[in-house]
């Protein structure tokens, strides 16, 4: 079994000194996570308590991607709300009552803190408690912060899931919990593979409906599907649940190791594991080989965005034949990232935090074949002649597990192939 793995690098990046930077950050705040969370949790509503900027961010981030009837809104703070705190709490009660009257389908309501609500110290936890008591049992009200002063992009999902952990009931059942809001098709594939090995019962956080919830306790085993769920990881630890550490399930290698780590905990035999995974594994290898043709021997530079950077760099270097120049991540949490860092070959600059202008200088000097960056930087860099991949697509597209491994490679290879396809010189 093990001989089929590509051997780990002789020296991984786990002892590479990290370049820590503090300067202008070119990243979204945690509110952005609402865009996918509200689609995943179908009876939930997200009410941001913030400013016009928050509403505009959600709309602009969503406008680039979707424009359907949203299950989110912003309670925009006005001049009068900033005067006295008692007023703000009453105002919030009024807005929430209005909202719940209009949307009786809402079963869980998240009050989401923002930069202004944090700065004026509007206590949303207290508000959530009060409202939960008032609207129980029809509606559960929770709170978390998605503010830009406390959260970066995907940390919003982390804060949301972490807020859900304490309210899950207690259980002693030995169950597997998969943590992370994944697209349905991907989630069902993972569950399908694990069930075929005889692993179960399997629970998902977040459950798509509040009534689908389950208990948690010292016999719960959990695996993270996303690398940014560190606060949730800690909240689960506090409930006594046990973490199954593994590389994240991107690409054939990541998926196999992730599944293997779970299988080991549930006593799955090598034969059974091979029986279930051999076919999809071979498909993944084949699909990645095809989709990554344009990537072999090319260099890649990551700007910090979603915290997926290190696992993705591991995938691109080990499965797609790329060379990483710099891997920037907003945060590097060793508690969940170590298996991936160890697999990432020594060589690239590993950067945490950001000073965007300095990082742009390094990127221009390196002239990488592919730059993975946010939407604010992509077109300007393309105009300078660099090939880019917008990072946000990696969060919104099904990219986990075997059947998507080829798609994941394709996301990176498409911009590279496109540049060679376009021919604007005079036609012969």
């Amino acid at each position: 079994m093990t001989e089929r793995f590509t051997p780990p690098p002789s020296r991984g990046c786990s002892s590479t000194p990290v370049l820590k930077e503090r300067g202008q950050h070119e990243v979204f705040c945690g509110l952005t996570g609402i865009i996918w969370l509200h689609r995943k949790m179908q009876d939930a509503f997200f009410l941001v308590v913030g400013s016009r900027t928050c509403a505009h961010l959600l709309q602009s981030a969503a406008g680039v991607m979707i424009f359907a009837e949203p299950r989110f809104a912003t309670a925009i703070l006005e001049e009068t709300d900033l005067a006295g705190m008692a007023d703000a709490q009453q105002e919030l009660d009024r807005v929430v009552s209005e909202l719940l009257e209009r949307r009786p389908d809402i079963k869980q309501l998240f009050l989401v803190g923002s930069c202004p609500s944090e700065v004026i110290k509007l206590d949303l936890a207290k508000a959530a408690e009060r409202m939960s008591a008032q609207f129980a049992p029809n509606v559960r009200v929770l709170s978390y912060s998605g503010s830009g002063i406390e959260t970066t992009f995907t940390q919003g999902e982390d804060a949301c899931l972490a807020a859900m952990v304490p309210v899950l009931p207690q259980t002693d059942a030995r169950e597997l919990l998969l943590v992370g809001a994944l697209p349905d098709v991907v989630e069902e594939q993972a569950v399908g593979l694990l069930e075929a090995m005889g692993v179960g019962p399997i629970r998902i956080l977040p459950a798509s409906r509040v009534n689908d919830e389950y208990g948690i306790g010292p016999n719960t085993l959990y695996a993270l599907t996303q690398p940014f769920l560190t606060e949730t990881h800690e909240a689960l630890q506090r409930r006594g649940a046990n973490h199954i550490a593994a590389p994240f399930p991107f690409g054939e290698e990541g998926t196999t190791q992730w599944l293997r780590a779970i299988a080991d905990q549930f006593g799955v035999s090598d034969a059974k594991f091979a029986e279930v995974t051999d076919a999809p594994r071979a498909r993944a290898t084949k699909a990645v080989a095809q989709a990554s043709e344009a990537l072999r021997g090319k260099s890649v530079f990551f700007f910090p965005d979603s915290q997926l950077e290190i696992p993705l760099a591991r995938f691109l270097t080990r499965e797609c034949g790329m060379e990483a120049v710099e891997v920037g991540a907003p945060f590097i949490h060793r508690s969940v990232m170590t298996p991936d860092i160890e697999l990432l070959s020594e060589g690239p600059v590993i950067a945490e935090g950001q000073d965007v202008d300095k990082q742009l200088d390094r990127c221009r000097a390196a002239q990488p074949d592919l730059t993975v960056c946010g939407l604010g930087l992509a077109n300007p860099l393309e105009a300078e002649g660099l090939t880019t991949k917008w990072a946000i697509e990696l969060v919104f597209t099904p990219v986990h597990f075997y059947e998507q491994a080829g798609d994941l490679a394709g996301l990176f290879s498409r911009p590279v192939r496109r540049r060679t396809l376009l021919k604007m010189e005079a036609a012969e």
Binding site: Q59, S147, G376
Partner: protein, 518 residues
């Protein structure tokens, strides 16, 4: 506190960004938390700008709040000056920074920068994007423009066009041409593509063309007073307005009215018999005050529509628009609440909406055609082709744009005649639109079953044998987004038939997916 689903305008600092990003040699140092950098994508993605907006954000974090955020601002401003060497700076705070009261203007002054650092006071909890743009442009003009000698020939400034504006790029070309035909030159266009040194030279013109009152009216009034620059009141959107605009220019400058109408096709297109079906179509207009007022007159006087309602989201234009609405025997809807606009449209049930991207969405839901006439903008509102709203070509463009969402004359009649036809019915939509007409469900016989009810659809014949989708595979196929589902289905069937596979399982589906992976 106000419950808001979608907003028509961003916060005022986004208005300031629209001014800064339109300019060259200007830099905006914005005291703001990290998430506020989302605003860059408005310019790089929606407007497809090929450069970063010239904005430095201090991106303070919670842990900085305990210490001194003022230092962060000073460091950021100094670093921005040294890196970008702008000719002038604007400095200000976003909504969160406004709460911590660091006074960016005062801090910038203490830096002793060798360039003007213009402070902006933009109250984030009271005002919005258009105010932000208008106030920013006014402050820049007030700080930089000085009385200078007038140009020898008659020249005008074009003021108001910004980054992220609705067709501003092309309106500039059109208005420049209108003036040029009358022998009038352009002194400065601002803020679009202007440098701070150009702003200093605004006073050399003989008058201002106020293209967009939303973003430049305060500056226009100040320049009238301080720099002796009268400004135009007519916005040349529509045939009548363009004619009125050149007359106004003639009276300001004493020149003869010259308007080259050789390319003007709109009046004939509207008069031709093919347009008869437009007569009396009930339209509702919503957008910024300026575009709505101009478009209401076009709708009534140049298209022959019946205007059944109008409104604007920017309160600054409320009084003006109320006046226009009264002239139409209507009451203007002044609101920035998208749900209120939706309710009004539902009530009025117009046949065409002339609105913003938000109304386009309302229209989609209510099944009412919509053409876009105003910001807020979407990537579609920045077409590659020349597509102005103002002047002669603007009138032509407007005719085409407004007629496009409608079902055309003869087709409309046929739809009425055959409204019970299962393929050619009135829910099928206009034939010149890309989408596929939805066949109306008809009960012809018992064995017409809808796909969702059966576990297994009819076998597909691919060449020499029939291929069957197994229920699990079919279920899996439905999870694939609709816009690629057809391709996935076709690929899988081709893959199966090439291999002689008669039953498509989930594995076959993914074997095929892996096979075609690119």
């Amino acid at each position: 506190m106000k419950l808001t689903v979608w907003t028509y305008e961003g916060p005022p600092h986004v208005g300031a960004m629209r001014v800064a990003t339109a300019m060259k040699g200007m830099h905006y140092v914005l005291h703001a938390p990290q998430g506020d950098t989302y605003a860059d994508l408005l310019f790089t993605m929606i407007e497809r700008r090929n450069h970063r907006p010239p904005v430095t954000y201090t991106t303070f974090q919670a842990r900085d709040l305990g210490a001194d955020t003022a230092y962060l601002f000073k460091d950021a401003a100094m670093a921005a000056y040294e890196r970008f060497k702008p000719e002038a700076m604007i400095v200000g705070a976003s909504c969160t920074a406004e709460l911590i009261q660091d006074d960016p203007g005062g801090l910038a002054e203490t830096l002793g920068l060798p360039i003007p650092a213009i402070p902006l006071e933009l109250p984030s909890y009271q005002r919005k994007e258009n105010f932000g743009a208008d106030e920013t442009f006014f402050q820049i003009v007030r700080h930089l423009a000085k009385p200078v000698q007038k140009t020898a020939r008659i020249t005008a400034n074009l003021i108001g066009p910004t980054a992220l504006g609705f067709r501003h790029r092309d309106d500039i070309t059109e208005v420049t041409a209108l003036l040029s035909d009358m022998g009038i030159g352009v002194n400065v266009v601002a803020p679009f593509d202007a440098r701070p040194s150009d702003i200093a030279n605004l006073g050399a013109a003989h008058f201002n063309v106020l293209m967009y009152p939303e973003t430049a009216e305060t500056a226009a009034r100040w320049m009238e007073r301080e720099l002796d620059l009268p400004y135009t009141k007519v916005v040349p959107i529509g045939v009548g307005a363009t004619r009125a605009f050149v007359s106004e220019i003639a009276s300001i400058t004493g020149r003869n009215v010259i308007l080259d109408e050789s390319r003007l096709r709109m009046p004939w297109y509207s008069a031709s018999v093919d347009s008869t079906y437009l007569t009396g179509k009930r339209v509702f207009l919503f957008g910024d005050g300026t575009h709505v007022a101009a478009c209401a007159r076009i709708a009534r006087d140049e298209m022959g529509f019946e205007v059944v309602g109008m409104g604007c989201y920017n309160r600054e234009q409320a009084r003006m628009l109320r006046g226009v609405a009264k002239e139409f025997g209507l009451e203007a809807l002044i609101t920035d609440d998208y749900l209120e606009v939706e309710r009004r449209i539902e009530e009025l049930a117009p046949e065409l909406i002339l609105g913003t991207q938000m109304e386009r969405h309302i229209g989609k839901r209510l099944g009412i055609p919509c053409a876009v006439i105003s910001a807020p903008v979407h990537v579609q509102d920045f077409p590659a082709r020349y597509s102005p709203q103002m002047g002669i070509e603007g009138a032509n463009v407007i005719f085409d744009t407004w007629v496009h969402p409608l079902v055309m004359g003869l087709e409309e009649h046929l739809l009425t005649m055959f409204r019970e036809d299962f393929e050619f019915h009135d829910d099928a939509g206009a034939s010149h639109h890309g989408h596929k007409a939805k066949p109306r469900e008809v009960e012809i016989s018992e064995h017409v079953e809808t796909e969702t009810d059966t576990a297994q659809s009819a076998p597909v014949n691919r060449g020499t044998f029939e291929i069957v989708w197994l229920p699990a595979a079919e279920k899996e196929l439905k999870k694939i987004p609709f816009f690629v589902r057809g391709k996935a289905k076709r690929n899988t069937e081709t893959f199966a038939s090439e291999r002689g596979v008669q039953e498509i399982s989930v594995d076959t589906l993914y074997e095929a997916k892996a096979h075609y992976a690119r």
